[in-house]
């Protein structure tokens, strides 16, 4: 094999390998890495396993701010009106009424009680259907612990996200988050206790 041809092969090898190069580090991985010392201190090896499982279960939610954010976008915004429930938290949606006719940016702000701790895994339910999980971590930009110990989780969805779900008939990952009517979103702890709840409306 001539040296030119060998060099061409080496360039091809590098090019093929770089095809698997990711665009960037998923935010959830940064959270997990940031949580490593804390989790180890808590001596909760099971947590790592659950986080891994969670991460996979919530893959659609987190895929690039995506699924979780999408669901949250849609779901959290839906929670704009804190609905009593057994938890002390609330979810506020802005705007609280959505329509596929006019996709807009949606922000859902969930306030969780101080009984929640960093690295806790909370579940998100949408109209009673599981919508994945989320790890509470004050190292992330969208999850902050307040001075009183409570937590604020902020989810945002772009008009593009909303449009994608509308194009799918108002469903995302099997959840009818943008079908006409009133929808309820809940954040629950590991025991199934409702930590926060809220509703939003979708008009035709």
């Amino acid at each position: 094999m001539s040296s030119d041809r060998y060099e061409l092969m080496e360039r091809q090898i590098r090019g093929i390998l770089l095809e698997d190069s990711p665009a960037g580090v998923p935010e959830r991985l940064r959270w997990l890495i940031a949580d490593v010392p804390h989790s180890a201190r808590q001596d909760t090896p099971g947590l790592f396993r659950s986080l891994t499982w969670l991460r996979r279960a919530a893959a659609p939610l987190v895929v690039g701010v995506a699924m979780m954010a999408l669901l949250a976008l849609i779901a959290l915004p839906l929670l704009s009106h804190p609905a009593g429930g057994s938890g002390s938290g609330s979810i506020t949606f802005s705007p609280s009424t959505l329509s596929c006719k006019t996709p807009v940016a949606v922000t859902a702000t969930a306030r969780l009680p101080s009984s929640v701790h960093a690295a806790d895994v909370v579940a998100v339910a949408f109209d009673g259907e599981s919508g994945g999980t989320h790890t509470v971590a004050d190292t992330s930009s969208d999850t902050k612990q307040q001075p009183d110990g409570s937590w604020v989780l902020v989810f945002t969805a772009t008009p593009d996200h909303m449009q994608m779900i509308c194009a799918a008939g108002g469903s995302s990952d099997g959840l009818n988050v943008l079908t006409p009517g009133t929808h309820t979103m809940q954040v629950l702890d590991a025991t199934g206790k409702v930590l926060a709840q809220g509703s939003y409306s979708v008009t035709p």
């Binding site: 090898i13 190069s21 990711p22 940064r30 890495i33 940031a34 490593v36 010392p37 891994t52 991460r55």
Partner: protein
Amino acid sequence: MGEVEGMGPRYSAQSETEREAAFQRLTQARLDRAYRLASILLRDQSEAEDAVHDAAVRAWQRWDDLRDQAAFDAWFDRIVVSCCRDRARRRLPNSINLLDVDPAAPDEPGHLAAERDGLRRALAALDPDHRAVVVLRYVEDLSVPAIATRTGQREGTVKSRLHYALRQLRAAWDAAERTGGSER
């Protein structure tokens, strides 16, 4: 086994807060490179996330072994490579079926596309140990001694594996050229 320079107790005198701060600073700074390396080694970004997380857990458990922060990158890379190889070995029986071949670029000559496909298949068929040295050589542009540090192998072993892997790749490249040539 090649020893990573900079290992040995040094941080034991640090406070827990200092240890954690150093760990966070160094791992987060290295995360992009580590995740890219794992993704290319495993060809699966979900698996790569798990591998990097495993590596971070392992790194924290062994944090007191790191004697010199300047040696962190090589030390952490070595753990990442080890975690990737563990995962790759576990899934090997299935990975052989994942020899996906992407379509040639529209402006790529047919014979070059065939050769590239041949290379892609040969790369995918390499076992984890051989793939690791090829990735470290051609993606990370590392020398044989640096690869030895990151794989925990002797330099002679690295050379041997690199030689074997390139022989396989060259054979695939030549075979694809002959096939492409006969079709031309």
